[in-house]
């Protein structure tokens, strides 16, 4: 689905990846336009995480290309994606457990060109205040609750000042109260101009926030469009039971 008035930030072309003979992604085309808030859904094993791992440099595709604003990034390492404004969180939260909350934020902050300790710390404190984590800045990240860890992971990705943010199952295992907090922050960030791709199984949350829904099944993209239209799609209904 393309919109000529908005340029694509990231574009995957005919992405193909197999694991032990099983096609995790089977020639998938996927683009994210500036200002999108894409919900990427599909049954377990449909290739969602594989796709975003390839689009963020964490996995090399067997064939196909990845473009970041027309710059070919195929098989480039993840730190180059981060340097060009691709932020992400992980399905299983990956924090620097024995480092403090503030240090977790400083790591991406200090990889930015021309960053200083003072500027990165100031930026980190601002994001921590936005995520309501500032009072925990001196605590080791491993001591945070599950929901707070998800928020910190989001905050750490924000430190890259990303052009696009991939959130892999941000609502999984999060208490409803903190899930609301997370949804509120994602919507606020989107309104301020951030672009998101959110992968999750929590249909209710995804449908509340997504402006565009992409559905995958068996390594293929089977639908892409406004949530209302996708929900009525017969292919989707057949492949993805539950809505």
């Amino acid at each position: 689905m393309t919109d000529p008035s908005r340029p694509a930030i990231i574009r995957g072309v005919q992405i193909r990846k197999h694991f032990g003979g099983i096609a995790a992604t089977d020639g998938v085309d996927f683009d994210v336009l500036e200002g999108d808030l894409v919900g990427l859904i599909g049954p377990n094993g449909s290739g969602k995480t594989t796709l975003i791992n390839i689009l963020t440099g964490h996995l090399a595709a067997e064939s196909g290309d990845v473009f970041l604003r027309d710059r070919r990034m195929t098989a480039r390492p993840p730190h180059e994606f981060a340097a060009h404004g691709v932020g992400r969180t992980f399905q299983l939260t990956q924090l620097f457990g024995r480092m403090t909350v503030l240090e977790n934020m400083l790591v991406p902050g200090l990889t930015r060109p021309h960053s200083t300790w003072a500027s990165a710390t100031e930026q980190a404190r601002r994001h921590l205040a936005f995520l309501n984590l500032e009072h925990l800045s001196g605590l080791e990240a491993k001591n945070l609750s599950g929901g707070q860890q998800k928020l910190l992971e989001l905050g750490r990705a924000l430190m890259l000042d990303p052009a696009v943010l991939f959130l892999d199952e941000p609502f999984a295992g999060v208490h409803p109260k903190l899930r609301e907090e997370l949804i509120k922050r994602i919507l606020q960030l989107h309104e301020s101009g951030r672009t998101f791709v959110v992968v999750d199984h929590d249909m209710e949350s995804i449908l509340r926030i997504a402006g565009r829904l992409v559905v995958m099944a068996r390594g293929r993209k089977i639908a892409d469009g406004p949530p209302a239209a996708v929900r009525e799609d017969q292919t989707v209904l057949a492949a993805y039971s539950g809505f």
Binding site: V107, S145, L160
Partner: protein
């Protein structure tokens, strides 16, 4: 008083320099060897404690550096200092190469790989006796042409202070933060923009360079080199020193090295039993103080002279707010 711990440590070093003439030759030798181990334990801590790269090949670099320096001086007649510098540079390059080869290895795989590398180096130095004199030992040029140990003592202090200054600068810079992030979660570090491969190679190179620095000094201090410098026995001693002291901080690893070396000498009368004692201390450390026996002491020490401000009511309330509620309530 801010900086009190720094002043105290500087005073201790200064006192050692001023009163060095009062030490007897035996204890001065023990102190020099303790400083040799301190450089090794500190550099191993940089690699393993900070970056999480558990190498068992550290002594191989000390050995390669020492033999490179000794042989270059023997073959070319170059000045001793130049030979030593060449040994360090060569080992830094070899360390970077090993770091590159092991880029995808972590944990036990890395430990086994580096152990195999270390054994290969030791066996080559043992077998090539036409070049290295094998177990008979390679005679090296002394660094100073004197019977006194004092110049060596001053040099050892200088090298230790230099090593700690460089490594301290690294761990307190953004590089130190990046190394720790690699230790914690390599994938997340990469996603945060950290050039993981670059820093892994860099830390291997730097740590190997310092191991070589200790090795070249050792070689030109004792005047003889044997392949046992790169043996697993010595590697285990360095690991034990760092672990007992505290392998996540360079000062505690250095304290562990100096403490264990002196303890080894004090307990010499107990023969092999002293190794059993060290084994028990190691077991105690792993069971009750995984961060090392010296870490709590060091944390107290660095806070000396700090003015403790009372925690404000607002901060207490904020902290409490984070500690209660459905998530973070301590239920899990």
């Amino acid at each position: 008083m801010r900086g009190l711990p720094t002043y105290l440590l500087a005073s201790l070093v200064l006192a050692g320099l001023v009163y060095a003439h009062g030490f007897n030759s035996y204890w001065m030798h023990v102190t020099i060897i303790a400083m040799f181990y301190a450089i090794l334990a500190a550099s191993w801590t940089l690699l393993s404690g900070y970056a999480g790269l558990y190498s068992l090949g550290h002594m191989a670099f000390a050995s390669i550096g020492a033999y490179t320096s000794a042989l270059l001086i023997q073959w070319t007649g170059m000045p001793t200092i130049l030979g030593m510098a060449s040994g360090v540079v060569f080992c830094t390059v070899v360390g970077a190469w090993i770091g590159w080869v092991c880029l995808r290895m972590t944990g036990p795989y890395l430990a086994i790989f580096t152990l195999a590398f270390s054994e290969i180096v030791r066996i080559v130095f043992s077998t090539e006796d036409e070049v290295t004199q094998g177990m008979a030992g390679l005679h090296t040029v002394f660094l100073f042409h004197t019977d006194s140990r004092i110049p060596y003592f001053y040099t050892a202090i200088g090298l230790l202070v230099f090593s700690l200054a460089v490594m301290g600068f690294i761990v307190h810079s953004r590089w130190g933060l990046f190394l720790r992030s690699i230790r914690e979660e390599e994938q997340a570090a990469a996603a945060s923009g950290v050039r993981v491969a670059y820093f892994r190679i860099l830390v291997f190179a730097v740590a190997s360079g310092f191991a070589a620095l200790a090795g070249v000094f050792y070689g030109h201090y004792l005047g003889i080199l044997t392949p046992s410098l790169g043996s697993l026995d010595l590697m285990i001693i360095v690991v034990v020193m760092a672990v007992i002291g505290g392998m996540e901080r360079i000062p505690t690893a250095v304290g562990g090295a100096i403490g264990i070396e002196f303890l080894q000498e004090y307990l010499r009368a107990y023969g092999e039993w002293r190794l059993v004692i060290f084994g028990l201390v190691l077991l105690f450390t792993m069971r009750f103080a995984r961060n090392g026996l010296l870490t709590p002491l060091w944390l107290q020490f660095v806070r000396l002279g700090e003015v403790r401000r009372p925690v404000s009511a607002a901060a207490q309330a904020a902290a409490a707010a984070g500690e209660v509620g459905p998530q973070g309530s301590g239920g899990s």
